[in-house]
Each structure stands twice: as C-alpha cells, then as structure tokens.
C-alpha cells in the first residue's frame, strides 16, 4: 500500500509538471509578449512606460531568452516566491487576484460535488434495484434532463424566474445588506443560502453520469452468483444489497469522483459567469477575452493542480476500498 502511494504521488508530481508546461504555452500562445502587451495597454491609457521599466520587466521574465529559460523564470518564481506574474488588467499581481476569488470557487465546487454525490448515490442504487420500474424511468428521466440542459440555460432560467416572479435580482454571493459587512454567523449563513442554488445548478450536470454508471455497475453486480448465494442463505435483501453488490459497484463510483472535480469546476466557470458570482470563473473568462495571459495561465495552473490532488485522493481511496486495484498496482511494480 505504501509503495503504491509513493508511486502514485510521484506520478502526480510529473503530471503537475506537464500541466505547468501546458499552462506556460497557453500563456505564450497570443502574439506578442507580456511586456509589449503591457506597453500597448499603458499607451492606450495615455501613460508611457519608461525604457528602464521595460528593461527591468524584460529581464524579470527572461523575455529575450529562449522559451525554456522563460519557463524556468516563470515556474521558479511561482515555487520560490509565489510570484504568478502580473495581471495588467487588474494592475495587480496575479496571485492577489486569484487568492481573492479562489475560496468562493472551492466552496461552490465543494458544495456542488457534495450534492452530486448524494443525489447520484441514492438515485443510482434505487434505479438499479428497481430496474425498468416506473420509478426507474422517472428518476432516470430527471437525471437525464439535468444532463441535457446546459448549465448556463438553467442559470438563465433561474434568473428569469427569480426576476420575473419573485422580483429578486440574482447575482453575487451575498444579499445586499451583507456585501460590505464583516464576517459573522449571519453573513456566513447568507453566503451558504446564496450558494445553494448555483451549487445545485452545477450538480445537475454531473449527477446523470454518475447515476448511469452506478446503475450499470450495480445491475451487473446484482446478477453475480455471490448475490444469489447470499440470498439463498436467507440474508435480508437490504442488508445483502449494501453489504456486497453496492460495495463492489462503488469501485467505478469512487474513481469517477476524481474526474468529477474538473467537470464541477468547468460548470462553475460557466454558471458563475452567467450569475456574475465573484468566483474564479468570470475572472478567468475576462482574462482570456482580454488576453491577460499571466492571470489566465495561473488560474489554469492552480485549477489543474487542485484537480490532480483530487484525482490522487480518489485513486488512493479506490485502492483502499478495492484490494484488487491495490494488488494489481503492486503487481506492476514488481
């Protein structure tokens, strides 16, 4: 197990390195380098960068060097000083902008994950056990509607209904009276209340996939001889269900948690943009539209690293829950 963990973590470090390369190339993708964009922007504002400033900036990011030393300047700055580069759009270090918005993203994504998980687990088991019943069709249908309606359409419909019928203007994470307030229990509750709907909207997209996988795997398990054997020994149906086939069918369920994280974050970007929530989504979108590439690249890097960490955790949980996976991995190591 320990060996498996070490290998797994080691590999994920390599993945993170590759992600950083991808992010770096995305930063480099638009024509012109960072300083020339900065100069153009400054000129548009009627300011002018001194030759000395330009020189310092060029040196800082090794802009006259080949790409690998530029990459090195970028990544070593991040690791050693937490310097993610400069957002010329916000006129602040990128790391400040990110840190301001990331907590809300994590909160929203976490809430959405949790809802996805609960809903999918309950419906998945129910539909597999009652295959081809009215209830199966109904819940499968509900799940599929969630899968088929784009997140942003749900968000827009939600805004429309709230505005038209409840005369509420939706958007933001706090009710007006709490926007400027200091942190308090009431403010935190208000935040949770405002997060619930966006989280539910994001969760709708993920549940159907999980329901489907749970249902498929559980129905496969339900026909296995060991289930028949347990039933023949007179075990109660509910106990039997939770004790054997659900556990076996959990395997792919756990392994999907890892890649549910990116999909939740993807959903978050769109839903937050529509509802104009102060999370990373709208900021990332704005950064990409305006080619504020250091900010965009840093966001991608952080979201990517977070997802890798999530995947590692889900893999470790999978190995812990399913001895077969664990043994196969150590088998490969020998």
């Amino acid at each position: 197990m320990l060996q498996f963990m070490i290998r797994r973590v080691g590999w994920s470090l390599l993945t993170i390195w590759l992600i950083s390369l991808v992010c770096f190339f995305i930063i480099q993708a638009p024509p012109g380098d960072f300083v020339s964009v900065l100069m153009a922007n400054a000129e548009a504002d009627g300011r002018r960068l001194t030759a000395q400033q330009v020189e310092v900036l060029r040196e800082r990011y090794n802009l006259d060097q080949p790409w690998y030393s530029q990459y090195w300047a970028w990544i070593s700055g991040i690791i050693t000083q937490g310097d993610f580069g400069y957002s010329f759009r916000w006129n602040r270090p990128a790391v400040d902008v990110i840190m301001e918005h990331l907590p809300f993203t994590l909160l929203l994504a976490g809430g959405a994950m949790f809802l996805t998980w609960i809903i999918a687990f309950a419906i998945g088991i129910y539909t597999a056990v009652k295959r081809y019943s009215i209830g199966d069709y109904f819940w499968t249908f509900v799940g599929f509607i969630g899968l088929s309606v784009p997140n942003f359409v749900l968000a827009l419909v939600f805004m429309y209904v709230a505005f038209r019928y409840f005369d509420m203007s939706v958007g933001g994470l706090f009710s007006p009276e709490y926007v400027e307030a200091d942190w308090s229990v009431a403010r935190a509750l208000d935040l949770l209340q405002n997060l619930a709907i966006p989280a539910l909207i994001i969760a709708t997209a993920g549940t159907a996939g999980l329901i489907r996988i749970t249902r498929a795997n559980l129905s496969d398990e339900l026909t296995q001889p060991y289930v028949v054997a347990a039933r023949a020994r007179g075990q109660k149906e509910n106990v039997l269900l939770m004790r054997y086939p659900v556990r076996a069918a959990m395997n792919p369920f756990i392994s999907t948690i890892g890649y549910a994280i990116p999909s939740v974050i993807s959903g978050e970007v769109i839903v937050s943009s529509v509802l104009s929530l102060p999370t990373t989504g709208p900021v990332l979108l704005g950064a990409l539209r305006n080619q504020d590439m250091y900010l965009a690249g840093s966001f991608l890097l952080i979201l990517g690293v977070l997802t890798v960490v999530g995947t590692v955790i889900s893999d470790l949980v999978l190995a812990w829950a399913d001895p077969r996976v664990r043994r196969q991995h150590s088998g490969a190591a020998q």
Binding site: T15, A216, P262, I265
Partner: protein, 403 residues
Amino acid sequence: MTTLEGPIPEEPAGRGTPGPQGSQGEQAASSSKNTKKDAGTRSSGSLIWRRFKRHKLAVVSLWIVIGVYLIAIFADVIAPRPAGDYNPDYPYVPPQSITLTDPGDGRGLGLYVHGYTQELDPVSWNRYYTEDPDELHKLGFFVESGHDYRFLGLFETDRKLFAPEDADAPFFLMGADANGRDIFSRVIYGTQISMSIGLIGVVLSLVIGITLGAAAGFFRGPVDAFIQRITELFMSLPSIPLWMALAAAIPREWGPLTIYFAITVLLSLIGWTSLAREVRGRVLTLRSEDYVVAARLDGASRYRVIRRHILPSLTSHIIASVTLAVPAMILAETSLSFLGLGLQPPIVSWGVLLQEAQNIRSVLTAPWLLIVPSAAVVIATLALNFLGDGLRDAADPYGGAVK
C-alpha cells in the same frame, strides 16, 4: 465461477455466441415466439436489437435522433429563410400563431398567419407588437420563396417546405432577434453545425480513446504508466477553462470553416480521456477474468486476446460512453460559443444563437431567444442520452439472460 460449469448447451443463451445449430435453429427462431428456447441460435445483433426494443424511451429517442439528423440534412428546405436573412422592420418580433381560417377574399380556407402592427414607445424606444387581425398571409407547402439554394448539392431551387405564399410576408413562427432574423430558420440551420460537431468530434476521440485505453489496460507496466500520465494530464485540466484558453488562442482571422474544424479538433482532443480511462479500468478487470487468463495460457497472441476476448465484453461500455460523448460534445460547443469563445457568427450553431440570450435583459425582452435554441439543445441531447442508455442496456450480455 463460469469455468466450473463446463460446456452446458444452454450456456450461450443471451451471450450471443453464434450457435453451431445452423439453419435449423434459424427456422426455429423465426417461427417460435419463445425467447428462452431460440435465444441461443440468434445472432448477437438480433438479440441486442430485441433487448433494445424493450426500452421504449430509447426506441422513441432513436426516431427523434434520426429526425434531428434529417432536419440537419434538409435544413435548406425546412428553414423558411436563409440563416443570415434579416428584416430591420421586425426587431424582437414575438412568435406568430398559425390559424386555420377563410378570410373570404377568394384565397380560400387554409393556414394563415397574421401580420403585425407596431407601436413605438416614444420614451423608451421599445417596440410593442400586436397581431393585426385584418392582415392575413396565406401559408403553403413547397412554395417559392425567392431564396435560391442547391438541394443536397444536386439542383437549384427556391421551394421551401412550409412558408408564406407571398415571399415578403412576415413569417416568424418562433419570433425574431434584434436584427429581425427568424429564430426558427436559424435554429434549423444551427442543427447542421451543432449535430455535425458532435458526430465528428466523437469519431476523433473514439479512435484516440479506445486505442490508448485498451493498450494501457492490457499491457500495463510502462505503457500503462505513460498513457495514464497523458490521460491524467488532460483530465486534470478542467475542460471548459482549457477549451476556453485554447479557443481563445485560435486566431480570429481564420475563416469560419477553419475555426469550425479547429473547435472540433479541440473538443475531441480533450474529450477522449474519459473514454480511455473507462476502457482501461474495464480492461484491467477483464484481463484477470478466467476466460481471458485461459485464452492467454492457451497461447493466444496478445492481439487475439484483445480482439476476441476483451473487446467484445467492452462493447457495451464503449457504446455507452460514445453515446454519452456526442451530447457532451454538443453541450461543450454550445457552452463555448455561448461564452463567445467558440464558433463565431456568421456561422450559426445553437450556442451562437444562445449568445444573444446572454444577459437577463435580453431574456426578459425576448424570452424566445433563450427558449427556442435551448429547446433544440435539450431535445437533441436528451434523445441521444436515452438512445445511448437503451443501447447500453441492450448490449449488456447479462441483462437479457436474467430477465
């Protein structure tokens, strides 16, 4: 477990193995309605089809999917107006209703739409439309529209399936946008782009996903580790932000068609991962199954073990993933275009149409800008999802044997 049972004659039931009984069995299959008796002699294809038909929702969805693709193919005939055709006199016109009536002026009984009367609010400059009870425009089938197009690339014509007989009459079945463009026509044309992106993108990612996934699961060791790293790399970048970043990097000077292909390639470059991962996980479990081990011990080549023993069991999962992938691609394209990073006008896709419903203000003025294209997206993706679900259940070799 299964190896202990030995060669019991009933065993092939539901597994779809071609029976050795030959023509006699085939006759029994066609004459008898008894499923249990003749199942063993049917081809696996017909067994799958039979199980598929049991899933009513999936059968209905199959027809809907066929219908949507037919709409895409015959968009030129169905859409009353060309996609870019605008009419500055009718911005934000609400949907018209069709009435069956006889105006009594010699045009006879038929389907008519009303014209509009407009009022301009002098303060807010908002237009208010009411249907004019006296102005009636007769509708007809296969009427001349004055807009030439090539029918399936074969011949030039201007006949439209269902349109007003007077080509200049206002005809906005599902309302119009800010430029007075007919939403119905645009959604019909959007079908072409949105549905084809899903299809092409999935074919591309299918090839990548299955090849890499099966190789990783089967060979394990360094091959697996390498492929896993690549897959993980793509999976751990949240797809929408990554698509956004890459789509933002596509030069805007490129023509619409080039952008269309670039977006399709982008979608499939990131979309193959879940397929690969699922295939790999399945192969990992399958390769330790008794019958696979037996085949390997018998000296079957790796290629043969993959093709003959592992891939067939994978089919149901591959089908499920693929049919889930098509609507996912459609949704991804829609989301990207909605955010303004995907396809660009003048190309018309459902996502491009939804761009106009981007803020709550325009949704409040003209709800049909949101409702009509979303309905198209939802119908298409819902049908594809149900179809995939039905196929998955049908291809599952164990599903039929139990019931």
